[in-house]
């Protein structure tokens, strides 16, 4: 038997065909022995399945189960809103501002305090009293020394 015909017979058993198609399949089943055998077999299987399907019982009735859910929904919507902090709204903003300013001030002070160690002591002013003299100044971090080299000064 062709597969298409078998599917049509199956659809007829499942009441999935319209009236004209159902009449066609009925005629085919009456005229064709193979079609009739398939039709009868499918009906037998359908009846057996429906008659022997196990029944699953809920621990509680359906109405009771859904009423419980409905009650939970209603009770959660009626729950009071959690109390907000007693502190005023601006306290959180103030705390953050203080924290940010504190960090910025601390960093700025650390940098300014440490600059002296990095840059070294400042030579404010050098003055050569004699015209023929000039000076060169440099800092040596490796020797931890500030050097003022005086040109053309000769005494010992």
């Amino acid at each position: 038997m062709k597969n298409d015909l078998a599917l049509k017979i199956q659809a007829c058993v499942d009441n999935e065909l319209n009236a004209s198609e159902a009449r066609e399949v009925a005629c085919l089943v009456e005229s064709d022995a193979e079609a009739r055998a398939l039709h009868d077999e499918l009906i037998a299987i359908r009846d057996l399945t429906v008659a022997n399907e196990p029944e699953y019982k809920l621990p509680e009735s359906g109405e009771f189960y859904w009423s419980k859910i409905k009650r939970d929904i209603n009770s959660s919507s009626a729950r009071p809103v959690r109390e907000s902090s007693k502190a005023p709204f601006w306290s959180a903003i103030w705390t953050r501002m203080v924290a940010t300013c504190g960090v910025a001030v601390g960093i700025a002070l650390l940098i300014s305090v440490n600059r002296q160690g990095i840059v070294g002591p400042q030579v404010h002013e050098i003055e050569s009293a004699l015209d023929e003299m000039s000076t060169i100044t440099f800092h040596s971090d490796s020797a931890n020394m500030t050097v003022v080299w005086v040109q053309n000064a000769d005494f010992n």
Binding site: A99, G102, V103, V105, G106, I107, A108, L109, L110, S112, V113, Q116, G120, P121, Q122, V123, H124, E125, I126, E127, S128, A129, L130, M133, T135, S140, S142, A143, N144, M145, T146, V147, V148, W149, V150, Q151, N152, A153, D154, F155, N156
Partner: protein, 163 residues
């Protein structure tokens, strides 16, 4: 899971607070340090050395001493001379606002005037004349060196070491 998250956020708040306290304490400490430095030690003690630098060996007949290794290495790292000898070493106390003068050699005097706080003026006097003035901020441990060339390709160094 929710309890762990709540505990963790609480701990983070504590950590933030501690971090903020540490930063502010450090900052305040820095302020105190700056104020102290600005007002500063009015009185300073110095060790002043007159050192001679040369590429030759130590000359006989002259009372020259070895320079401490740290200063020698420091000078070698900056200058070209291989050998350094101490001619004179003296100590000097300079009170706040006062001036002290030391004779380092027949030709060399060193005068230090406290300008208040950590600032001093160092005057190098050669043969009675003020050769050079240096205004300097002092910090403990940092050497101040005034140097110049001498005859026969040698050099002299006046080193002030704040004590």
């Amino acid at each position: 899971m929710c309890k762990e998250i709540v505990l963790l956020s609480g701990s983070l708040n504590w950590l933030r607070g501690l971090l903020l306290l540490w930063v502010m304490a450090t900052g305040l400490g820095g302020i105190a340090q700056r104020v102290e430095a600005a007002e500063g030690k009015a009185d300073w003690k110095f060790e002043v050395q007159l050192i001679w630098g040369t590429n030759d060996e130590k000359p006989s007949g002259k009372e020259l001493k070895e320079v401490e290794v740290k200063i020698t290495e420091g000078l070698k790292g900056i200058f070209k001379w291989k050998n350094y000898f101490e001619v004179t070493r003296k100590k000097m106390d300079v009170a706040g606002g006062a001036t002290q003068r030391l004779k380092m050699s027949d030709k060399c005097d060193v005068e230090v005037q406290s300008l208040g706080g950590s600032n001093v003026e160092i005057r190098l006097i050669g043969e009675g004349k003020c050769v050079n003035k240096v205004k300097q901020t002092i910090s403990a441990g940092r050497l101040i060196t005034i140097a110049g060339g001498d005859k026969n390709d040698t050099a002299w160094f006046v080193i002030l070491k704040p004590l």
